[in-house]
Amino acid sequence: MEEKIRFFLDIILISAAGLAQSLSLVVFNGIKPDLVLAALAVLIFSEREFWKYLILVLISLICLNYSVFIPKELAIFGALMLSAFYFKRYLSENVLLYSVLFTSVLTVLLYLFIDPGFIFSHFDLFALELFYNILISLIFGYLYNYGHEK
């Protein structure tokens, strides 16, 4: 029962993060932090079964979709998020540390795949987004640890 409630809360969290990102509700100095990426980097440790994580990724893609069919960028985003689940097995349960690691690597990989020129031509913006993403994943990671200790 407890696990079901947790999964339900994870769905609410990812939906809220997705809609906030899609509607640009959270913007710092003109930069949109990738709330969904940061949230999924933490939730990857919360879900033991792949199908639950798959549902969270699908919900996030629905919330982020800005076009009719899945745009290339979102397809890449989804594929990266799902492949990250595979690497979880090689990591320990230190959520705070590994969610930061996942967030950093996934942010870099995302832009390398969707628009590599952005990293080099607008490195300041990229670095700022990376910083915000790490900060948000730390907050989510802390809340995750707090929730599990309770």
Binding site: L23, S24, L58, L64, Y66
Partner: protein, 228 residues
């Protein structure tokens, strides 16, 4: 149990491909209505000032006619990453929206251009996108510059000997958008521009609105952009 999981995943996939969740986004965004109402009024006020400015200072067939046909369209999403700045509007070809039509934040205030449409949804590239460029004029002296989009849009190629000051109005002079539409105002002029051997100066563009708080845009239906 497996059947239920499978059904849930199928339903989510169908929702993902159809993207029919505009009403959910509207409910979510309507909670911000009170805060946005003030910004909307400020934008309307600025739009009226712009129309007055155009009438007093600019000349041109398009402006004198002043017969822009606006179509109000609700914003339902924005591009979720930072490498582009696109917004999705909840109207498409069935509402008469076509590719390359100019889009305004309020009457007389240019926001961007439609870059993609289908039957029910259109995508708009805004002035905050790094790929947005437009020839512009600055202030009453009609000083030429090139507007380059981005998180902080910049005004480049301004001749060093031309006098511009903070607060000067920046308006469009590009054939792809209606002439005389306001883009914003000059702020933070930089005279040291090493990229152009010191021949030109650069400034930043301050828009009169917060792009994140826009809820609807105006598509200018009776403007034909120059085909690229």
């Amino acid at each position: 149990m497996i059947f239920i999981r499978f059904a849930v995943i199928i339903v989510l996939l169908v929702a993902l491909f159809n993207n029919n969740l505009i009403f959910v986004r509207n409910i979510f965004s309507s909670s911000l209505d009170a805060k946005n109402a003030i910004e909307k009024l400020q934008l309307e006020n600025d739009s009226l000032k712009t129309e007055l400015y155009i009438a007093e200072n600019l000349s041109g067939k398009e402006i004198n006619e002043g017969k822009w046909e606006y179509f109000y369209a609700k914003i339902f999403s924005s591009y979720p990453f930072n490498d582009q700045n696109l917004i999705g509007i909840a109207n498409g070809e069935t509402s008469g929206i076509k590719k390359d039509q100019a889009v305004a934040a309020a009457p007389g205030i240019l926001l961007g251009q439609v870059i993609k449409t289908n039957k029910s949804i259109s995508l708009v590239r805004t002035v905050f996108d790094k790929d947005f460029t437009a020839a512009v004029k600055i202030g009453e002296g009609k000083i030429s510059a090139l507007l380059k989009g981005g998180v902080s849009p910049t005004l480049e190629m301004i001749e060093k000997n031309k006098n511009i000051k903070n607060g000067d109005v920046v308006y469009n002079a590009d054939q792809n958008y209606p002439y005389g539409f306001k883009l914003g105002e000059v702020q933070m002029i930089e005279t040291k521009n090493t990229d152009t051997a010191g021949l030109f100066k650069k400034a930043f563009l301050k828009t009169d609105y917060n792009p994140a708080s826009l809820e609807e845009v105006l598509v200018i239906k009776n403007f034909e952009a120059l085909k690229k």
